[in-house]
Symmetry: C2
Subunit: 520 residues, 2 copies
């Protein structure tokens, strides 16, 4: 309702004719309808008003689906109307409606039955009562966005209908804009969450699969793919989607029919750390593509959101790659170093790697956290690093050591601790080095620690170390039979070794190789 | 213009009265105006139409700035109007306009001069010709978004004006929505670029400063800050803004007056690599805050964009931190290892670290790329790693070596190469190990390479190695005077050493310590 003018100042009111007053009431009603924010309500009320103005019996309202080139039945009104038509689609050039939309002109037909454009294939019983029809294209800045039909009208208020129609087209556009704005907000919120999730794994295959999955959702697509060029020799492409990883040429698409597509490049960018430029130039390393928007076509906003996602993922991939390399470098380095120290004595060749493998297996069997398993892997590889400070003559001596030489040999945990405690970030793994010769009853060295004084990592590595020593040949004896080793470990639970560690060790060794547990 | 009905089917036309036809023309004009996508044009034309309908002499249009609680003069029209009022602001409850907006009612005043609400403080000459005024609030779903005043009107077409006003309010809202949608697109595009840029540096201080800078732009704020809690002991906060880094309590804000603020947390999230969970739990590590939106206040979209930026930056920060740690671990480890090997012989204590420092200085002086400098740093630290395979008795022997012992000693580049070539990611640095005893004239070992056969990294490390050996005490001689060392290097350019390397070395040594170049 319009606001009443201030009564105190009403004397200038220009009296309107009844006709004009009536018209103003229609417009006021149109304003009320226009304030609706639900598209369905808006369309429903708008058709109602137009039927009323024309004193019609029924009406239908169509919206144009531009992408499909079809008119969609949105509202069907009137006593004898057929609501089952709702949702039906016709070609945008079909029938009287199609003609009105194509010509952008209002069409009035006095006798429907005589018009060749009337749908002949519709149920005659349901349309037999329809005598005449006004067909009105809904124009937005001159372009059709739909149409209205009013059946069995009394007044053909064509100018008014067109004014109302155009007015309503503008409001439909606004509601759609509001919807889009609302939808944009929802998608931005989804992006907030997604940008938290891409980065949850630094494993590039997992990351790319997650990326394809999240892109499909965000972009309302049927399918996504991530293609990644191999680092060297750009020709091999990897293709990730919900089915996993495939190394195929990008042309092959498993017969999937692509209606619409939107793609964004994955780029490695120049990166600096301090003054160092660790990545030199920008280059495309792959692409992220979504296929077949579920409704409509991909628009500029889709492209932007996909690019944001692609840029985020590119950065994560690139830095995760650097992290992976730095980790690999360190791990490879200490493996090679440990192997070099082991190899000074032919009898201990490969010892540190085996102790590490066994220690990791024990830790996993015990259900320790991945962090701790990682520390145990590093620590066990380095457990004999202190031998670097023991004279080669002692390490490589084939004959039994003198007691003085043995005392020197026994200093390797202490030497290792002294050296490696200088590496700040290794602090968690040091007990593997310093405690792998300690024993539960305090009979070990260098400190003679008891039971709980020995850390978990120390307990695990000590058992793994004994196991490997006993199951390999030594200058002073042959490798011991596996069953005898198990017996020895079992008998010394609580005296030399920790129960949980021994049990976990035996379990993993048997699981790994049920018939002949020791293959090395 | 409305579309003319199809002439062939016009017989149902209901003849309109002239008055009604005239009104339809006004509405049609309103539709035309409504199709404008420029807010200025829309407001201008809309005011024009209302003045025309009322046969007024002048008019003004105000929009409400909700955040400021002010009405802004947007359009001033009419022959005697005063365009200099444009842009002026009045309180939303001030004057007749304020009254109409507050009451949400149309107010008609026959004699302005007698109304106490008329602005007394305006230039009397400019307003003396104004006799009467219609003041019309522009209502959108019942809420005022502005107002229109029409001066010296002839007809007070109040219902029509209100219908037009409400219609136009809806259109203003739509244009603003369109503007916002357009603006959102621009900001998403900006975000695409920003997400490419945050990640260009892995140095956390640089990254945080860049983040504050980019957030200020994206959020149209006056100022941004990034606060980061220290990893241990959450109490110390660091504050980054365009002025740099500050370690202050978050309360102190340099007397900066915050009108409005929008903040998003920076979160470290759980991260896995393969089966390893390398970051355990989600925790807030800081926050990103923008202050004082330049126009208006921060809205939901601002919060979302800031969160997207914060989530991206958090991920980059977190992974960059992991990368930094992995790098630091490796570098610390090889430093400690090299120092341990050096320390077997008291005469070579600290040798590898010094050779590395000198090699890096030479490489930087020569203007080599940061990548190459990094390789040289690693390679030079490891150049004597092969001594791990030379018997301690030879390395630690205080007396001169026999020629057989010397031959064994000369195997260390080959041994080092054999060991380190097993570490795939060290391939670039291997020449530092294998070629640091090669000489330009082919007189070096182990291969007797000539000139260009020796890699740049080999040439650099060999000069740095000789320099450190000559300037430190050895069992067989005291440290050589620096000038004599320079002489030796100079004299042997092109014979033993590379010219560029020698010149760069001398330059950096002199620059580093002009009076006493060697401080070690």
């Amino acid at each position: 309702m319009p606001n009443k003018p201030s009564t105190s100042t009403g004397s200038f009111n220009n009296p309107l004719t009844a006709n004009r007053r009536n018209l103003i009431a229609v417009l006021d009603q149109a304003n009320r309808i226009a304030s609706m924010t639900s598209l369905d309500d808006l369309l429903d009320q708008m058709l109602e008003l137009m039927i009323e103005v024309s004193e019609g019996e029924a009406g239908t309202l169509y919206l144009l689906d531009q992408a499909a080139g079809e008119l969609v039945f949105k509202v069907v009104k009137g006593e004898k109307s057929s609501p089952e038509f709702k949702g039906l689609r016709i070609r945008q050039d079909q029938g009287i409606v199609g003609a009105a939309v194509q010509q952008r002109e209002l069409i009035v037909i006095e006798d429907i039955a005589k018009d060749p454009r009337w749908y002949r294939d519709m149920d005659p019983e349901k349309t037999a009562h329809l005598r005449n029809v006004i067909t009105l294209p809904l124009l937005l800045q001159g372009n059709p966005i739909g149409a209205v039909q009013i059946f069995n009208f009394v007044h053909a208020e064509l100018e008014l209908l067109q004014v109302l129609g155009n007015r309503m087209a503008s409001e439909v556009d606004k509601v759609m804009l509001l919807d889009k704005s609302h939808r944009t907000n929802q998608r931005l919120q989804a992006l907030v969450d997604i940008l938290g999730r891409v980065g949850a794994t630094l494993d590039s295959e997992q990351l790319l699969r997650l990326l394809a999955e999240l892109a499909t959702d965000l972009m309302e697509a049927e399918k996504s793919s991530v293609m990644l060029a191999e680092r060297q020799g750009q020709e091999m492409m990897f293709f990730f989607d919900e089915n996993g990883k495939d190394s195929i040429s990008p042309g092959q698409r498993h017969g999937f029919l692509a209606r619409s597509a939107c793609a964004a490049p994955l780029r490695a960018r120049p990166i600096t750390v301090g003054k160092s430029r660790i990545a030199r130039e920008e280059r495309v390393i792959g692409n992220l593509m979504v296929l077949n928007k579920k409704s409509g076509v991909f628009d500029a906003e889709d492209t932007q959101l996909l690019e944001i996602l692609a840029n985020h993922a590119s950065t994560v991939l690139q830095i995760a790659g650097l992290y992976g390399e730095a980790n690999e470098l360190f791990l490879d380095f200490i493996k090679v170093l440990a192997a070099t120290i082991d190899a000074k004595d032919p009898y201990t060749r490969g010892h540190s790697q085996r102790v590490s493998d066994i220690s990791v297996a024990i830790a996993q069997e015990m259900g320790l956290s991945a962090d701790l398993v990682h520390d145990i892997q590093i620590g066990s590889l380095l457990h004999d690093i202190g031998k670097i400070g023991v004279p080669d003559t002692i390490i490589t001596k084939p004959d039994p050591l003198t007691s003085e030489e043995f005392e020197q040999m026994k200093r390797h945990p202490t030497i290792g601790l002294r050296i490696m405690s200088q590496v700040h970030l290794l602090s968690n793994v040091l007990p593997a080095i310093s405690e792998h010769h300690e024993r539960v009853d305090g009979s070990g060295y260098p400190l003679g620690l008891h039971g709980e004084q020995i850390s978990q990592i120390g307990l695990i590595v000590s058992v793994a170390d004994v196991f490997d020593a006993m199951t390999t040949n030594r200058p002073y004896r042959q490798a011991v039979e596996i069953d005898l080793v198990f017996d020895h470990l079992h008998e010394n639970i609580g005296r030399l070794y920790d129960r949980r560690c021994v049990e976990a060790l035996i379990k993993t060794v048997i699981q790994a190789n049920p018939r002949n547990p020791i293959s090395s």
